[in-house]
Amino acid sequence: MHPSTFILATTEGGESSGVELLLPAWPELIAGIIAFSLVFFFVWRWVWPSLSKTIETRQGAIAGELTAAEKAKAEAESLRADYQAQLANARAEASRIVEEARKSAEQIRADIIAKAEVEAEQIRARAREEAAGEKARALAEAKSQVGDIAIELASKIVGEALDEEKHKALIDRYLADLEKI
């Protein structure tokens, strides 16, 4: 407000007393009261109920949303709990499977080693048998070869030792034997 305007108003009011300046005139007061009552009635009768109804609806809606949110949160919580339980189960299962696999691998390893040892022993036994058989065969072969050589030599010596007379004697004996048949 411009200071000059204030000064102007003060100079205008200065024409009447102080209280009159504050109180309205009666007709104006009555008209004001009536107008206020009309406005009050209007507000009380229509505006207020609709407003309060709107507020109530909003409140209900908010409360419903809150409940839903609570519910969702609870659900999420329970889901999380379920999930965690499942996770724990899965972990337990996994470690059980790993343990089983380890155990069965251990078993298989032991089996394989045992089998290999048995086979190795069989191979060794077979090799021993074969070696023994081979030795026996070689000995027998050597024996028979030595015998053959000895006899071959003996027959050569006998053949060379046979002179005409001995040949004749052998033939004569053959004939004599034949004639006895």
Binding site: S155, G159, H167, L170, I171, L178
Partner: protein, 178 residues
């Protein structure tokens, strides 16, 4: 199969030799040559060598026998060489002798000895073998050093073995079975 073939050759040779009137000579020569073939390893291997051409083999035969054996005998052996049957010669020679003996209504006595036998011994042997087998026999002596000493006689399926070789063999068996 082989027996049939040998029999066939023997019958053929026999008929040819008889037809030519040289039966006895041919059968004796075949036996002698067969004996040589059996003992001479080199001769045998060169005559059976598949690498050696036929005319070379026949040349070897001609060189060995030409003039010494009857032309017919040489021809028969040439036939065996050309048919690659020279390994059958010993069997064929025996078979020819057997067929020839049969044609004289006698049985062949195949006698193997390390030394030649004189006529008196052969006569004695013929008589003794005839008595022993109950058959008329015809002795053919084959010189075989493998006999060592004594005699092996075979008449048909009967073998009368009085050789040193047999005794050596029995000693060999005894040694082996120990």
């Amino acid at each position: 199969m082989a027996d049939q073939r040998i029999e066939g050759y023997a019958r053929g040779f026999f008929e040819i030799a008889r037809g030519e009137g040289q039966l006895e000579r041919v059968e004796n020569e075949l036996l002698t040559i067969a004996r040589t073939f059996e003992t001479a390893r080199e001769l045998r291997s060169s005559l059976t060598d598949p690498q050696l051409p036929l005319d070379r083999k026949q040349g070897v035969i001609d060189q060995l026998l030409g003039g010494r054996a009857a032309a017919l005998t040489v021809g028969l052996i040439q036939l065996l060489v050309s048919q690659n049957r020279v390994t059958d010669l010993p069997d064929i020679a025996i078979a020819v002798a057997s067929v020839a003996a049969a044609s004289r209504e006698k049985e062949l006595a195949e006698v193997r000895s390390a030394v030649p036998l004189d006529d008196a011994t052969i006569e004695r042997l013929t008589a003794a073998l005839a008595r022993a087998t109950g058959k008329q026999v015809e002795v053919k002596v084959i010189l075989d050093p493998a006999v060592i000493g004594g005699i092996v006689a075979r008449v048909g399926d009967t073998v009368i073995d009085g050789s040193i070789a047999k005794r050596v063999d029995s000693v060999r068996q005894a040694v082996r079975s120990n």
